[in-house]
Structure formats: structure tokens, C-alpha cells
């Protein structure tokens, strides 16, 4: 297995720069996920690593060796595509063995490797079928099998689950995580689905417009987003982000005054924040609670009842909307007054530059 290092990697087209200098270290056996909204450059970045896109500037190192000018096959990577990209006229076995056949591996050895991959992925009954005779999930497994057979240094996945239905996606997520464990492989995985990123990654790279917004473990991004973009992107339902003003700052934290009567002291490093500074106040739906003694007054306008939990869309007195995550058994009635309280230690303050003020105490899972 192997390490991958990106050093100020850039990709420019005739009139715009798609990747604006990405530096990243992927450790041996690490599961790294590139996540970001569509058009952020995550697929381009993956394709640059794969060798399918030329690198305009910067260095790409695999196992410490610069491979910018090495062809895709010689980089010893395997890629799983969103569309599966199986050869339609070949059987499952031939699809999986194709790379080995091209490499001149003997039939016996090839068959043994294909059989082994088929066993791991439970594809044995389908080896003689053509891709057209398989379901979406089976095709995806064949595509994964094709990459396993080659025993590559690094596995690359380009949104591999987005053509599957929700149930299958959940199942494949678990299978991929298990596979990562079993193969002890270095994996780089691209998705726009932050649930996939959160559940599978050792390390998440959040990209926007060709720039890395933050690199960190899933919980680090969740609890300590570096800026407003990451805070808004990671987590579902989304973090509530409201314009607010600093009313005071000392070693205990920063006092904030926001719309709808929000007034709270958030335990973060004041840094350059002073009374009067315009900031963005962030609070996740699960850190707001329906509380008869709460300080915020509003009305629940919509309730999304998911069974296990309920999402209340609460309108504060001045019209500000907040999403509140409550228990599935929550009995709040629509259009009637409701009081909310804010869990201040979990709140976030983003300065005028969009950057997050450092929490005085980090979440214990992220230390």
C-alpha cells in the first residue's frame, strides 16, 4: 500500500483555474474523502491523481515518487467510476480480469485472483454473466472487484454510490468500510454526499471552487468547522447561520447579540473580535432545545417528523427562522408560542473574514 501527496496541485483551462493549489497528504491505509458542492473540483482533483487529467502545476507524489508524467496505468491505481464503466461485451470474470490479461498475467493466476475478488464481494454466482444482466448494486460490486483484482497501491472512487437507491447506498457504504478494513488499502473517495463522507472517512477534505476549505477528521469538521462554508456544508440538517453583533469579549468568551432576541456568551477565543464587530452566529439544530424557560420566543411553523426525531422550523418574533432538532415524541403544536434555549458551548462565532473563532474547549472526540 502507499501514500499519496499533493503539493500545490493546480489545474487550469484556457480561461479559468479549476484547482487553485491543493496541498494534501494521504497516509498509508487512510480513507480520505473529497467532499464539496458540484463544480467544486473534487472529481477533477481525483482524475488528476488518476492520471486522466493533466496536472497544470504542482507535484503529485505516490510513495514519495513524482508521478506527474507517469501514465494512468503505470501509477498502479485503480478507479471505480460513478457509471461503473464495465465492458458491456465481456463477462463479469473477463471484466475483472481484463487488466491482468493486458499485463500478461497467466490464465491460472488470473482466474485465481478473479475468484478471490468474487469471493470477497459475493459475486461468485455471476461470474459468467454480462454486465447488462446484473442489477446496479451488482455492477458496482463488479467495478470494485475489477479494482481489487489489480491489487493497486491506491483505490480511487468517483461518486461510486450515487446511481444506487438509498437502501443500497447505505448497504454499500458499510461494505466499502468493511473492504477498507479487510484490504488495508489507501482509498480516496469523492462524493457530494456528506453522510458518505462522515460515515466512511478517516480524513475529509472539503473543497469549494478549487480551494481546500478544511482538512480534518469527520468530527473535527463537524464540531470545529474552520469557516462559515464548512459549517454550512457539513451536517444535516444544516447549521443555523445568522448575522449578529459582538457586544463584549473577554477571556470567558464572546458575547453576541443576534436577531429575534438572541443574546448569548459563546466560549470562544475573542481574537480580534471587539464590541461592535459584525459576525455570523452559528448554532446546529441539535443544540437548540424547546424549553419553557428558554430565552427565545417564537412559533413553530413547520414540523418535519422523521419518527425518531422531529425538525421544527421556528419563526422568532422578528421573522428569523431557526431549525430545531427535537425528540420524535416532541409535542410542540404548530402556530402556538414556543420557547427555545441555546446551548452556548456548542455555538459558533465566525468573524467578518468568515473564519471561526477558536473554541476555548475543544470537543473531546476531536482532540
Amino acid at each position: 500500500m502507499a501514500t499519496v501527496a499533493l503539493r500545490d496541485l493546480r489545474k487550469s483551462y484556457a480561461n479559468h483555474e479549476a484547482i487553485k493549489g491543493v496541498t494534501l497528504d494521504v497516509e498509508d491505509r487512510e480513507f480520505v474523502v473529497f467532499v464539496g458542492p458540484s463544480g467544486c473540483g473534487k472529481s477533477t482533483l481525483l482524475r488528476m491523481i488518476a492520471g486522466l487529467e493533466e496536472i497544470s502545476a504542482g507535484d503529485l507524489l505516490i510513495d514519495g515518487k513524482r508521478v506527474n508524467d507517469v501514465g494512468p496505468a503505470q501509477r498502479e491505481l485503480a478507479m471505480v467510476f460513478q457509471s461503473y464503466a464495465l465492458y458491456p461485451h465481456m463477462t463479469v470474470a473477463d471484466n475483472m480480469g481484463f487488466a491482468l490479461k493486458l499485463a500478461g498475467v497467466k490464465t491460472e493466476e488470473r482466474n485465481a485472483k478473479v475468484a478471490e475478488a468474487a469471493r470477497i464481494l459475493q459475486l461468485e454466482p455471476y461470474l459468467q454473466r454480462k454486465p447488462g444482466q446484473l442489477s446496479g448494486g451488482q455492477r458496482q460490486r463488479v467495478a470494485i472487484g475489477r479494482s481489487i483484482v489489480r491489487n493497486p497501491k491506491v483505490f480511487l472512487f468517483d461518486e461510486p454510490l450515487s446511481n444506487l437507491d438509498a437502501a443500497l447506498r447505505g448497504q454499500m457504504r458499510i461494505e466499502l468500510a468493511r473492504l477498507h478494513e479487510q484490504l488495508n488499502a489507501t482509498m480516496i473517495y469523492v462524493t457530494h454526499d456528506q453522510v458518505e463522507a462522515m460515515t466512511m472517512a478517516d480524513k475529509i477534505v472539503v473543497l469549494q471552487a478549487g480551494v481546500v476549505e478544511q482538512i480534518g477528521s469527520p468530527l473535527e469538521l463537524y464540531h470545529h468547522p474552520r469557516n462559515v462554508f464548512v459549517a454550512g456544508f457539513m451536517g444535516s440538517p444544516r447549521m443555523n447561520l445568522l448575522p449578529a453583533t459582538v457586544t463584549g469579549a473577554d477571556t470567558n468568551g464572546v458575547a453576541i447579540s443576534g436577531p429575534g432576541g438572541i443574546s448569548v456568551i459563546v466560549p470562544v477565543e475573542p481574537g480580534s473580535l471587539r464590541a461592535g464587530t459584525k459576525v455570523t452566529f452559528g448554532i446546529r439544530p441539535e443544540h437548540l432545545t424547546v424549553d419553557p424557560n428558554g430565552t427565545l420566543n417564537g412559533r413553530a411553523m413547520i414540523a418535519e417528523r422523521l419518527g425518531g426525531l422531529t425538525l421544527l422550523h421556528v419563526e422568532l418574533q422578528d421573522g428569523t427562522l431557526l431549525v430545531v432538532q427535537t425528540d420524535g415524541a416532541d409535542a410542540t403544536r404548530l402556530h402556538e408560542p414556543v420557547r427555545l434555549s441555546i446551548s452556548a458551548p456548542h455555538a459558533h462565532v465566525f468573524g467578518p473574514d468568515g473564519l471561526s473563532a477558536e473554541h476555548l474547549r475543544r470537543n473531546p472526540l476531536t482532540v
Binding site: 496505468a73 485503480a78 467510476f81 464503466a85
Partner: protein, 304 residues
């Protein structure tokens, strides 16, 4: 109840069979009058003696066939020429069209203009193509010989359409010029169905350009290749206009083809019996070649 819904049309509406009749009727009528009736009539005439004018045609059994097979020397010349013509037509224009399609499928400047240019001959009337090439081949004023002279290749100068050793091939070059664009367009359509992701997957699997072509592009073009081959085959069997416009089958029947000989027998020599018999033979040969080929490719695709 679905059975009822599909079985009984709602009042005031025509049922599906009637809709089909109305929509297909005009086309079927035209097809019947201009294709099926003449087709049946040719089979009828092939067992008759008829000069095309007299009110009576006499039934003479298979005498026409006996005549063309045993007494008509030109028939066998035309048959031989048609075999050569067909073999060349199935091989060369599709091959050139394929090469053009591969070239013009690359990202290059002005490729749409080039595509249009190579397709242009297809839409020119064959008789105009024939006239153009006849001029170009003119032994004294034609551009072909004049270019050869300019290039210092006087020894290659020919009476292109007047020499029976080269006339058939000279006509064939004009035919290639006219038909290669057609194959190109079909192949371009086929190539647009080749998934770029599949080619990328093959590259990652370690395939070089030739292997990508062999294992990804070519299999994806299977049905296109069948269509192009079948159409080339049928078109070559019925080649007529270009011969008519360039050589009239001459010199010394060296460019005589079956379709043209059928026409000559019927329309020039007023022997509709012989002409029709030749046409029937042509039809039989076409069917004998095309139908097994189609069945073979069908089986192969079903297996895939």
C-alpha cells in the same frame, strides 16, 4: 380494469388499429405502388416474353433465365464485374468512411466543416457526380491527366474510361468519392455512443491505444458496422446511375454491372423478359448474401 380499457375504445375515439391504419396508410400505399407492385411485376415479367409495347405478353416459363445463363455472354461479364464491384464496395468505402470518422471524432479545429465537406458528395445527384468525374477523366482536357503531367508522371496517363483494363476501377474511384461520406456519418454516430468513461477505465486497466480501440471502441460499434456493411452491399448491387453517367457499361462491357445490364435489356433492347430475369437474379443474389449476414450478426448480438 385494464383488460377492458385496452380492449374497448371509448366512444367517439378511434381504436389503436384504426390509428395505425391512418398513420401508416399513406406510406404503405406509396410503398405498395412504387416498391411492392413493380417488384411483383418484375417476377411476373421474368417468365414472359414482352417488348414493352405490344398489348400481349406471352408466358414462356424459364426460357428467359435459360437464355441469360447460357446464351447471354454479357450477363456473365456483368456478373463478374458485379462481384468485383461488390467486394470493393463492401471493403473500401466503409474502410475510408471509418478512417474519416475516427479522424473527425478527435477534437480538432474546423471538424464540423470537414465533416460537412466529406459528406457533401453523398447529397450530390449521382448523375452529376458521374458527369463531373467523366470530365475529370477526359484523356485530353481532364484534370486527372493534367495533374499527372504536372507531377511529372506522364507514364501513368491513361484513357481512364476508354481503356477496358482500368475503366471499371476508374468508375469505382468516383463511386468511393461519393459513398465514403455516408459510411463516415454512420460511423460518427456510432462513435458518439462509445462511452468516454469506458475508454478511461481501459486506460487505467493498462490498455494502450490499440487495445482501447480493440476492446472498447470496436465492440461498441458492432451494430453500426453491420448497418454500414449491409447498406454498402445493397447499394453496390444496385449501382446504376454512376455507370449510366460515366460509361454506359463500356468500353467492351468492361464496366457492365447487373443492374445496368437489366436496364439495358429492358429499356434499350426492349426485351423486358430478359431484363426482368436479370433483375430477379440480382434480387436473389442480394437476398442470399444479406439475409444470412443479418441473421449471423443478430445471433452474435443476442449472445452478447
Amino acid at each position: 380494469m385494464p383488460a377492458l380499457a385496452s380492449g374497448a375504445p371509448k366512444p367517439g375515439r378511434l381504436g389503436a388499429p384504426w390509428q395505425a391504419v391512418i398513420l401508416l396508410g399513406p406510406a404503405l400505399l406509396a410503398y405498395g405502388v412504387f416498391a411492392v407492385l413493380p417488384f411483383l411485376d418484375v417476377i411476373r415479367l421474368s417468365v414472359m416474353r414482352w417488348d414493352g409495347l405490344s398489348p400481349h405478353a406471352a408466358f414462356i416459363g424459364l426460357a428467359n433465365f435459360r437464355f441469360i445463363f447460357t446464351e447471354d455472354a454479357v450477363f456473365w461479364t456483368a456478373f463478374g464485374n458485379s462481384v468485383i464491384w461488390t467486394l470493393l464496395s463492401v471493403a473500401i468505402p466503409p474502410a475510408i468512411g471509418f478512417a474519416l470518422a475516427l479522424g473527425l471524432n478527435q477534437k480538432l479545429r474546423g471538424r464540423n466543416a470537414l465533416r460537412a465537406m466529406f459528406y457533401l458528395p453523398v447529397i450530390i445527384a449521382p448523375i452529376a457526380v458521374a458527369t463531373m468525374w467523366r470530365w475529370m477523366y477526359d484523356p485530353f482536357f481532364g484534370i486527372v491527366n493534367s495533374l499527372l503531367t504536372d507531377a511529372g508522371l506522364q507514364r501513368l496517363i491513361q484513357d481512364w474510361l476508354g481503356d477496358r483494363r482500368v475503366a471499371l476501377y476508374a468508375v469505382f474511384v468516383a463511386y468511393v468519392w461519393q459513398t465514403a461520406g455516408f459510411a463516415m456519418v454512420l460511423f460518427l454516430a456510432g462513435l458518439s455512443n462509445v462511452s468516454p468513461t469506458l475508454l478511461e477505465a481501459a486506460r487505467l486497466d493498462g490498455a494502450n491505444r490499440a487495445q482501447c480501440f480493440r476492446h472498447v471502441t470496436l465492440p461498441a460499434l458492432g451494430s453500426t458496422i453491420t448497418v454500414v456493411i449491409v447498406l454498402s452491399l445493397i447499394n453496390s448491387f444496385r449501382t446504376f446511375d454512376i455507370v449510366y453517367g460515366m460509361t454506359h457499361g463500356g468500353p467492351a462491357q468492361s464496366t457492365q454491372l447487373l443492374a445496368f445490364w437489366a436496364y439495358t435489356q429492358s429499356m434499350q433492347l426492349h426485351d423486358f423478359g430478359h431484363g426482368s430475369a436479370i433483375a430477379v437474379v440480382l434480387l436473389a443474389v442480394t437476398a442470399l448474401v444479406v439475409i444470412p449476414y443479418l441473421r449471423w450478426t443478430q445471433r452474435r448480438e443476442d449472445a452478447a
